[in-house]
């Protein structure tokens, strides 16, 4: 691993390893107290193992060795015997040594482990044979080294339970040999301590294990001495690592980052309201100034008319008013300044938070090395993995989400893409397969490409599997182009390999890759060339926090598209929308692109086509290389939005990506561009032909809940519903959009239900439209008033059975024909 990548990934590794270390040491201590706790033992082993893995993947061999030794020392652990003190001490020493190494690494230095050999030996796993050879001392030192080895053997035997006599004999002999060491290196205190230790062991006693551990430690130090004869003097204790001045990274729960983000967004909501309010105050201030000026003119007139007394009173009041106006103007300036200040701080805060959320892509890329090695080993394939773009910084959440799909794509490439060496050679390719994973920034989006130089996709097998799985009929499958059929691999329940292998058949299918991509408002696609390559491309936004969205009007509602997906806003002149093989199209940059209006795509009643002779706004949506033009009623502007997922309960509503809160506090739905694009059928697809218009019902009610209930009720029954919040709006909608039945509440602001009915019934062209009044009041007077106004039906809310309203509306709908109210 190169230095740069290591520097980038270090903070993550360091933080993760620290967590491992703390759980390791507490686990070991727990085991020492109660060796029978299998669960703790398993946990500790697992932790050591994953620590080994992550150190290994970064090429930190020393740390890897230590973790491996800890794991090894625990593997020999027998719950009957419990953990020997020496093992515990050694393991804790190792933990501490790793900590030192991390500190050194945090400070920007090499993560070297002090006294590595000694700790390894104490853990019962000496250096690997090759290392011994490399570190072997000159031939002359073989004598003392052999002695040390014998003593080490004695020491480890003494650590095991022995009967009294055997122990005394073994320790006594060792003590003798230890004294022989004294002569060999008189300058060191070690031989004396060792000899004394063995002597104490020979005497016996309760703290035998501790003494033995100390002896073992001294022996290792001694061995080190003999192996480096130049430094016979005891090595100075490792210099304490100076407290790192460099920035230390801390681990933060991603949930706290999420809630921080949300809270910040709420702050920015109030911030824009402040700005709005400051603007309003300024308006009031200007209006008052204007009034003061007019009053001054009145004062002059009064003086001219020589109304002395009135004039002096007047100027007194005027002066007072002027003072207040000046105060107001000062307040207004301050409010504006505060709002500006808040906006600035908010912007900085948002920027910082965004940076905080960003991690480098290598966090998701580096683990792939191990996976590739593992899968290649199991399948007998030879694979060279090349990673690029690890330095690209992405939103933590995006990285977390992309990690699993990426693992799957890579496993899939090794398992299904790259051929066995023999097969490759027969095909005239080098035996080693090439697998490339590339991360690259594309504006506000990031592309991840996984490409192998294997056999390509067997698209006919994909077709066959799709037909077998009932995904589509054989004719449709045969009609599809190869590149269309290739995309079927993302369909749930499709496996290209005839037998689901252990490696790729782990429950994460390519459909999950696609789901993840779409959840992130991204896309995934596959391309291939037979015998040459298969390339999967994943494209997702860089960040999931507040992102720019385009607000559009949809009937009475406002909804939004992520700006990322909107390539351009177009203004279409009348006649620019043509048809091509039965599908509406618009010519953009010389290409006919499919066209549909947003309301039609969503199956809602809309009034897009009502406006004549004017430019009609439309969005050019671009999603994974597919482009369509979407007609909208009105583009309301751009705003930074935080899109909230609405949860698993809404998985059956694919056109909604989530919801967001606007500056003014309104909650709006955010559309999933992928789904919308999919719903706009390409030219030549006859299923896109419009269905006969459904009868339209205008529902007016000032309560949103009632309106929604009535609306959904009528929509299930097959009516198109236009909803209005009061009588005046209902009248506007009625005269522009038209409806075949009007269902209206009685009490509404601006224009009530009675007056709306009267207005409709007074119009010679519109009067035949039936009106149903719904009211929470049930008095004979009201009923009479309603019928007098000309309503055809009168229902009381509390009594209304859903069936009753439907029945009434069905009865009242005229035979199919012209929609009254709409201009001819």
């Amino acid at each position: 691993m190169d230095r740069e990548t290591l520097t980038q990934i270090w903070p993550v590794f360091s933080a993760e390893t620290r967590e491992h270390l703390s759980s390791l040491s507490s686990g070991i201590l727990e085991l020492e107290d109660d060796p029978t706790r299998q669960k703790v033992l398993d946990g500790v082993r697992r932790t050591a193992h994953s620590m080994k893995g992550s150190a290994g993947s970064l090429g930190l061999t020393e740390l890897e060795q230590l973790a491996h030794a800890i794991e090894g020392s625990l593997a020999r652990f027998d719950p009957e015997e419990g953990l020997a003190r020496a093992t515990v001490t050694a393991a804790l020493d190792a933990v501490e040594a790793i900590e030192r190494a991390l500190e050194a690494g945090d400070a920007g230095g090499e993560p070297e482990v002090p006294r590595l050999a000694e700790i390894l030996a104490a853990l019962g796993s000496g250096p690997t044979p090759s290392e011994v050879c490399g570190a072997a001392g000159p031939p002359g030192s073989e004598g003392p080294l052999a002695l040390v080895e014998r003593l080490e053997l004695a020491c480890s035997e003494l650590l095991r339970p022995l009967d009294e006599a055997a122990r005394r004999f073994r320790a006594g002999a060792a003590a003798e040999e230890g004294r022989a060491l004294l002569a060999l290196c008189p300058g060191s205190p070690l031989p004396a301590r060792i000899a004394e230790g063995f002597a104490r062991l020979a005497e016996g006693g309760t703290d035998g294990a501790r003494v033995a551990a100390a002896v073992a430690g001294d022996l290792v130090d001694l061995r080190t001495l003999f192996e480096r004869p130049a430094a016979l003097a005891p090595a100075p204790p490792p210099a304490p690592v100076p407290p790192p001045n460099a920035e230390r990274s801390v681990r933060v729960l991603s949930s706290s980052l999420d809630s921080l983000t949300r809270e910040l967004e709420l702050l920015s909501l109030s911030e824009s309201r402040h700005r709005h309010r400051a603007g309003q105050v300024k308006e009031v201030e200007e209006a008052i100034r204007e009034s003061v000026r007019s009053l001054e003119r009145v004062g002059q007139a009064l003086r001219a008319a020589q109304a002395e007394e009135a004039s002096s009173d007047f100027s007194l009041v005027l002066e007072r008013l002027k003072t207040q106006a000046a105060r107001l103007s000062r307040l207004s300036r301050e409010a504006a300044r505060d709002a500006d200040g808040q906006r600035l701080t908010g912007a900085l805060l948002r920027e910082d938070l965004r940076a905080l959320r960003m991690v480098s892509a290598s966090v998701a890329l580096e683990p792939l090395r191990r996976v590739v090695r593992e899968v290649a080993g199991r399948t007998g394939k030879e694979v060279d993995l090349s990673l690029s773009g690890g330095e690209v910084r992405l939103d933590r959440r995006v990285v977390d989400e992309v990690r699993d799909p990426l693992l799957h794509l890579v496993r899939n490439a090794v398992d299904h893409g790259i051929e066995l060496p023999g097969v490759r050679e027969r095909a005239g390719k080098p035996p080693r397969g090439q697998l490339g994973v590339k991360v690259e920034l594309r504006g506000t989006r990031v592309g991840v490409t996984v490409e192998d130089d294997g056999a390509g996709l067997d698209v006919n097998a994909v077709r066959a599997a799709a037909v077998r799985g009932g995904v589509l009929g054989p004719e449709v499958a045969a009609r599809m182009t190869d590149s269309e059929a290739a995309q079927l691999v993302f369909h749930p329940g499709l496996s290209t390999s005839a037998s689901v292998t252990e490696i790729s058949g782990r429950g994460v299918g390519l459909d999950v890759v696609k789901d993840t991509a779409e959840r992130l408002q991204g896309t995934v696609s596959v391309s291939y060339e037979l015998g040459r390559f298969t390339r999967f491309e994943l494209e997702v936004p860089v960040s999931l926090s507040a992102s720019a969205a385009l607000l559009v009007k949809l009937g009475r509602e406002v909804t939004a598209f992520p700006s990322d997906n909107v390539a351009r806003v177009l203004l279409l002149r009348e006649g620019e929308v043509g048809t091509l093989a039965g599908q509406a199209t618009v010519r953009v940059d010389g290409v006919e692109l499919p066209y549909a209006s947003l309301s039609a795509v969503l199956g809602q009643a809309g009034s897009v086509s009502r406006v004549r002779g004017r430019l009609r706004p439309a969005l050019l949506l671009s999603m994974g290389g597919k482009r369509v033009v979407l007609g909208v009623e009105e583009v309301l502007g751009r705003q930074e939005l935080v899109v909230f997922s609405l949860g698993a309960r809404l998985s059956g509503v694919p056109h909604l990506a989530g919801a967001a809160v606007l500056d003014d506090g309104r909650v709006i739905g955010v559309l999933a561009a992928g789904e919308i694009v999919r719903r706009v059928k390409p030219a030549g697809d006859s299923s896109a032909r419009s269905v006969p218009p459904r009868p339209r019902v205008l529902v007016a009610d000032d309560s949103l809940t009632t309106r929604s209930v009535v609306k959904s009720l009528l929509e299930i029954a097959g009516f198109a519903v236009v909803a209005a919040a009061d009588g005046e709006e209902a009248w506007q909608l009625f005269t522009t959009v038209g409806a075949q039945v009007v269902v209206t509440d009685v009490q509404m602001p601006r224009l009530n239900g009675f007056d709306l009915t009267r207005r409709i019934k007074a119009d010679p062209f519109l009067r035949q439209t039936p009106v149903v009044l719904i009211t929470s009041l049930d008095s004979p007077e009201d009923r009479a008033l309603g019928l007098e106004a000309g309503a055809e039906g009168y229902l009381v809310k509390r009594e209304v059975e859903r069936g009753q309203l439907l029945e009434l509306v069905r009865q009242l709908v005229p035979e199919r024909g012209a929609i009254p109210g709409s201009p001819a």
Partner: protein, 181 residues
């Protein structure tokens, strides 16, 4: 954890430094205490019954367990969503999040019921996932004696309680994605 429970557990956990002879007697005592505490904790829900928040929808009484209630909001904050299916009334801002608001009657597949105004939204947290139910009238917190509870089967209703009250099974409620496609 209640007071005595914590104490008992703490003493047992920290025994490492306690001299051996005391240790032995203490262990006996502490184990007894702990057993008593555990027994009490297990027995509690049965004795105390179930705390629920009751409300009406379509003139009928429903309830959810109080511990699942995240927030109760006024229905005036409800906004509709584009082209939403019948069971999805819209969305509402709850604290710092935006949550979907569902129509209980549609979820339960009920046809009848009045159309009176929904006044409140009960925001529910089901295993971390938030959603709102629009209700007509909030009755308030009630405690149901477990004696009176009757299991309602596999559906979205967990129990029937006396006084025509249906306690909802939140994890089964909804998943309308699977129902409506």
């Amino acid at each position: 954890m209640t007071g005595p429970e914590r104490d008992a557990a703490g003493e047992l956990g920290g025994q490492g430094d306690v001299p051996a002879q005391r240790d032995f007697e203490d262990r006996e005592r502490i184990l007894k205490e702990r057993a008593a505490v555990v027994a009490r904790v297990r027995a509690e829900p049965r004795a105390a019954g179930m705390k629920v928040l009751a409300f009406t929808v379509g003139g009928e009484k429903y309830a959810v367990e109080v511990k699942a209630v995240f927030q109760v909001l006024d229905a005036s904050g409800l906004f509709s969503l584009p082209a939403s299916p019948p069971w999805l009334l819209g969305a509402v801002a709850a604290r710092t999040r935006v949550v979907p608001v569902l129509d209980l009657q549609a979820l339960l597949g009920l046809e009848g019921g009045g159309m009176s105004d929904l006044s409140k939204i009960v925001v529910i947290s089901d295993e971390g996932e938030l959603f709102g139910l629009a209700v007509e009238e909030l009755i308030g917190q009630e405690e149901i004696d477990s004696e009176g509870l009757r299991r309602a089967g596999e559906g979205a209703i967990a129990f029937f309680a006396p006084d025509r009250l249906a306690v909802l099974n939140l994890s089964r409620l909804g998943a309308p994605g699977s129902r409506s496609g």
